[in-house]
């Protein structure tokens, strides 16, 4: 799961398939459909990241390139102080370019808990596995009038996830992902991701353009991601190299 997509929808950054839902949907199939929508298109876009803390906030503007697969290149444009900082993701490997040092560093395993640009998303979150790989899925019955479906994900034995439970909320009609809530192993909700706006792309896919990550333990800690100026189309392979990480990539 590559970095830009996760940022784009926060963790499961975007989605939604257009496949018609079955009358009695299989929970695992529903999740698979939702996750499958993460295989978004290759594109270039501008992401705006607003990190809010009690009494203050900080806005980042990021240029993002993704091949629609496992590769992405993110470069900080604003604020000036952080401009030039860049992140190259290839699979689960992440390289960071620091313009002040003029050096490229590979993120070590011990650094994966660091917060991405001080936001509420860590590198570990960004390089996390697909939800369908690590969890057993069950569909929680809501009232007949409810317009949502809730998938309750519980970790498989030995699954590499610290969460005790994850709830994934989908629209009952469009199966569009609305919200993800992460619980600890004592039943307490720690974090949620709300996907607030989506636009339809060609081929019946959706791109989440506005999402919010909230820390449910610490009041006032939240991060908003918005996507603008997206341009769907192939991105050259040379944009996902360490040279591009240092010098940028134009095409």
């Amino acid at each position: 799961m590559e970095l830009s997509k996760i940022i784009g929808a926060i963790l499961l950054a975007l989605i939604l398939g257009t496949t018609a839902a079955a009358q009695n949907p299989n929970p695992a199939e529903l999740l698979h459909q939702a996750v499958d929508q993460l295989r978004g298109p290759a594109m270039a876009a501008t992401y705006t990241l607003l990190v809010e803390r009690p009494g203050r906030s900080k806005k980042y503007v990021l240029n993002v390139l993704t091949d629609g697969g496992e590769k992405s290149l993110i470069r900080v444009v604003e604020p000036k102080r952080d401009a030039g900082q860049a992140f190259l993701t290839i699979g689960s490997d992440i390289w960071i370019y620091n313009p002040r040092l003029g050096r490229v560093m590979r993120l070590p395993p011990s650094g994966k808990n660091d917060r991405f640009l001080g936001s509420d998303v860590s590198y570990a979150d960004l390089s996390g596995r697909d939800l369908e790989e690590d969890y057993e899925v069950a569909l929680r019955q809501e009232s007949d009038k409810s317009n949502i479906l809730v998938l309750v994900l519980t970790p498989k034995p030995r699954a590499p996830t610290p969460w005790g439970r994850v709830e994934v909320v989908l629209g009952s009609k469009d199966k569009l992902l609305r919200k993800i809530v992460y619980y600890d192993q004592r039943g307490k909700a720690l974090k949620d991701v709300e996907l607030r706006k989506a636009v339809a792309l060609d081929g019946g896919r959706y791109l989440i353009t506005d999402s919010l990550v909230r820390d449910l333990v610490r009041k006032g800690y939240r991060t908003t991601f918005t996507i603008s100026d997206w341009r769907v189309g192939p991105v050259p392979e040379h944009c996902f190299t360490q040279t591009a990480l240092e010098r940028g990539c134009r095409f």
Binding site: P109, S110, K112, S122, P157, R158, A159, P162, G164, Q185
Partner: protein
Amino acid sequence: MKKAGWTLLSRLAWRNVWRHRQRTLLLAAVVAYAAVATIFYWSMADGYKLSVLEAHARYVLAPVTVATVDWFADPDPENGLDSLRAVNSALAIAGVDGYAPRLQFAGLLTSPYVSEGAFLLGVEPNAEPVVSRVPGKVSKGRWLAGPGEIVLGYRLAERLDVRLGERLVVSTAALAGPQSLGLQVVGLVHAGVSSVDASGVYLHLADARQLTGLNGATHLALDAPLGHEDAVARRVKQKLPAGLTAHPVWDLVGPIKTDVEAAKKFSLPIGLLLALFAALAVTSTLIVSVLERTREFGVILALGMDNPQLGWMIVLEGVLATGVGWLLGLLLGYSLIYYTSTHNVLGPLFQVSAEVWSEAGLTEEFYTHLSPIYVIYSLITVVVAALAAFLFPALRARRLQPSEALRWN
């Protein structure tokens, strides 16, 4: 009395010792104190070294470690042993039957709240108790029973905010590339060794192999009696195949060894200083005693004893009182170090340094060492003190005139 023999002098001295009971008891007490202080000091110094050695041999490292030469230079799984067959055969030939394979690697522990880097130790749950005391120090839950489980130092568990029965994610990147596993916390260790309690992570060898991609182990931990690690390591080393070597724990503790050896060297001048203080205390006690008895000495001289005999009598009195004090000091000193070598009364005093220097593996339990050599150390201290103490009174006795002594006020 013109010329008293040694027998008479001895009888006189013995009588004087008990005639001046308060003075005798004071002198004996001072000597006893010097003996107790010496015994306790050296027992502490040896206890410190053994405490560090014991903590590293049984909690942090192993009495003897067998691994490749490359692994000792760079303890990474890629320098580990892919097969244990050859080393198992070598250990059988060397007559070592108490050992346990281990797989050590660096990884990341992730709970829902926090992540922390750590050195993890993959172990065979049934073999580990042969070489380590950690399995017996699980204070909550239990020791490992199979794959899928993890045991943590209790302070690490507190930092990660993870409880018994909860899942902890272990991630690493070694021969198998980036790998992660969710393991259930089944036990919390309270070893009393700060580095174990603060950083100890133990998982099943099978899980460690899966995470790292190494089929064997990084090293083998060998059992050896405390103080015999060097001999066992030398014996095993001769039987190992090329590329493998064995190191006793003392070779692997790094700067801690330097520190402990430096502390031992520093203890020698401190011990001598202690003897000097003891000598000063005994001397001052004897001087006061002799000065107070000046008129008595004048009477003795007037009755016919000559000055050299008086000097020897004073020396004999000092020897007898000092001997009583030394024997008393031995009794008290050995009682004290016997108690502190069997009860952890000194451990709490080392807590501050253990907190500050947790990487040193200093134990929360601290026991003094019992050794008959302290009889000699204390005897040397007392003899040095006594020689210094007897010099002044004896010289004074040789110059004392009966007429002056009788007028002494």
